[in-house]
């Protein structure tokens, strides 16, 4: 785990993404479109449970969309070049970190759009700090769990559909824990109660990243 290598890989990702800004645009557009479609369906949501659930469903699908692309660029010659430059463990760790950053940004953008259209009255009694924390941890969790899955799906060549099938069961319990935690946060419950669920999310994150680091080198070999 070479920190310098990871740092330069992160810089590489950032630069590549800056050159293809349309990727960010498409992610943001996806989120806003989804939120707006839901808005047309429900107008305003004032019940905590529904508001919470719909929010996380939107973030979930945005996550699949965004993370699915993360390995699509690497086909062909560029991948072999990268293979000679960097240790695969660093590649996957850098990719995971970058995806985590992307997901956090996506989560914040989703939250902004969501509160704008679907209403923010539910936030009145919420523990904002706890809620924000659960949104952050949940988004990071998606990135951790789905990075390796995205790599497998990209290598299998079947694209986003396969990634969703492979990734959904892994994400399911983590999503459940995040849902519970954020709902508790919206109900204004103390940290000690929601903390259990956040710890579960953290445990899944750690396991996923560790497994990715161990397994990715096998994927990289070709």
């Amino acid at each position: 785990m070479d920190r310098n290598e990871i740092a330069s890989l992160l810089q590489l990702e950032w630069r590549l993404d800056r050159r293809q800004k349309h990727a960010w645009g498409s992610m943001a557009l996806y989120v806003v479109s989804t939120v707006y479609t839901c808005y047309l369906g429900v107008k305003q949501l004032n019940t905590v449970a529904t508001w919470n659930a719909l929010f996380w469903i939107i973030v979930l699908f945005a996550a699949f969309n965004a993370l699915g692309r993360s390995f699509q660029r690497e086909e062909g010659g560029r991948q072999i070049y990268l293979h000679t430059l960097a240790h695969p463990r660093n590649v996957v760790l850098a990719r995971t970190l970058y995806n985590a950053g992307t997901m956090v940004a996506l989560g914040v953008v989703s939250l902004a759009a969501y509160t704008l259209f679907i209403g923010d009255r539910v936030l009145a009694e919420a523990d904002i700090g706890l809620f924000f924390c659960s949104v952050l941890l949940g988004s990071i969790g998606f990135a951790c769990a789905l990075t390796l899955i995205a790599a497998i799906a990209a290598r299998a060549g079947s694209g986003l559909g396969l990634m969703a099938i492979l990734g959904f069961p892994i994400v399911l319990p983590m999503l459940l824990a995040t849902l519970r935690a954020s709902k508790l946060a919206l109900d204004g419950v103390a940290w000690s109660v929601a903390g259990n669920y956040l710890l579960a999310v953290l445990a899944i994150d750690v396991l996923a990243v560790a497994l990715s680091a161990i397994l990715f080198p096998y994927l990289w070999r070709d």
């Binding site: 299998a156 396969l162 099938i165 959904f168 892994i170 319990p173 459940l176 710890l199 497994l211 096998y218």
Partner: protein, 340 residues
């Protein structure tokens, strides 16, 4: 795995489990009382038992409250499982929960702990001697009779081993996957696939038996409970594994991708089925500190049938895996031989 002995053993164990597990009677118990609060003064209580013989051998009934006993003033056996009892409850009992005790020579001592909430408490009373006679009950093996579960405790010998078998088979699968990653062995890849297929079959049976059991004990086919969510997620993960295998045509790439996902999936399966349920509140027996069900699966009376059941079903599962594996290997060799 070579040998005939363990296959015969599996068959015999399962036959033993089915016969003994279904025929062994439950211990007699008191299952219901018509009142749940008692106050000083006369009170009439209807008591229902299960597996009891109140008419055939008379019953002596008393209330036990913090080692103070109050004998019943009259006991009438209406049916073999139904008693009508009258007490004169004194004031001044010490504890707020009283137990109901029924003794008969045929059934022994039956107790229902915390049967009555007690009013009119005080410093304590002198205890009475309510029991005469010795228990003549002789039973080689009896199963515990728990509230809510009653006879359905027998499902333990079918439902739980299904999941154990699934875990064993998926462990075989992940072991073969590791072999694939290290040596790129196509035979190991096929074995891994077979292991997951048979493991999923047992998982399906586990889900069905669990669902039926839930219908009987919890009055619902499914509920949002950590263990059930974890088992659903496990099924989905491994079904996705099979989908992954199906979507990659080249054998070498398929073997490697499947092996990677298999290791990923197995780790998460262990997390979802064993770690997460213990961290959260769970209705499921054995997790979440559920008092009525705690540790019943290692109750000594169930062990003589439970452990052989686990072993028998696991051996059966491994036998199925072994058979299917050999068959597919033969098919592969045959198609290879035909190609040449």
């Amino acid at each position: 795995m070579k040998g005939l002995w363990w296959k015969v053993l599996a068959t015999l164990l399962l036959l033993y489990v089915v016969i003994v597990g279904l025929r062994t009677p439950l211990r007699p118990a008191i299952v219901q009382t018509s009142v749940s609060r008692i106050a000083p003064g006369p009170v009439e209580v209807d008591v229902w038992g299960y597996g009891t013989h109140f008419i055939k051998s008379g019953a002596q009934v008393w209330i036990e409250n913090d080692s103070q006993r109050v004998c019943a003033t009259s006991v009438a056996a209406i049916a073999d499982d139904h008693l009508r009892v009258q007490f004169t409850v004194p004031s001044g009992l010490r504890s707020e929960m009283s137990d109901l005790a029924v003794f008969s020579e045929r059934d022994g001592l039956l107790e229902r702990f915390g049967a009555f909430f007690t009013e009119g408490r005080g410093a304590g009373i002198a205890t009475q001697n309510c029991v005469t006679g010795k228990s003549l009950r002789l039973a080689i093996l009896e199963f515990p009779n728990r509230d809510i579960l009653n006879e359905s405790i027998r499902n333990l010998f079918f439902h739980v081993p299904m999941w154990f078998t699934m875990v064993v088979l998926l462990s075989i699968g992940v072991w073969k996957s590791v072999v694939v990653l290290r040596k790129n062995d196509p035979d190991a890849d096929r074995s891994a696939a077979v292991a997951v297929q048979v493991g999923l079959a047992f998982a399906t049976l586990g889900l069905i038996t669990g669902s039926l059991w839930a219908r009987v004990t919890w009055e619902t086919w499914w509920t949002s409970d950590p263990k059930l969510n974890g088992s659903a997620a496990t099924m989905l993960i491994y079904l996705a594994y099979l989908v992954l295998r199906g979507s990659v045509p080249e054998p070498a790439k398929r073997a490697r991708l499947a092996a990677i996902y298999s290791v990923f999936a197995f780790s998460f399966m262990l997390l979802f089925l064993f770690v997460l349920p213990r961290l959260n509140d769970s209705l499921h027996p054995g997790n979440g500190g559920n008092p009525a069900f705690s540790k019943y699966d290692i109750d000594k009376r169930l062990a003589p049938v439970f452990y052989p059941a686990c072993l028998g079903w696991i051996l059966l599962g491994v036998w199925m895996y072994d058979l299917r594996n050999r068959l597919l290997r033969l098919q592969h060799r045959l198609s290879d031989a035909n190609d040449q």
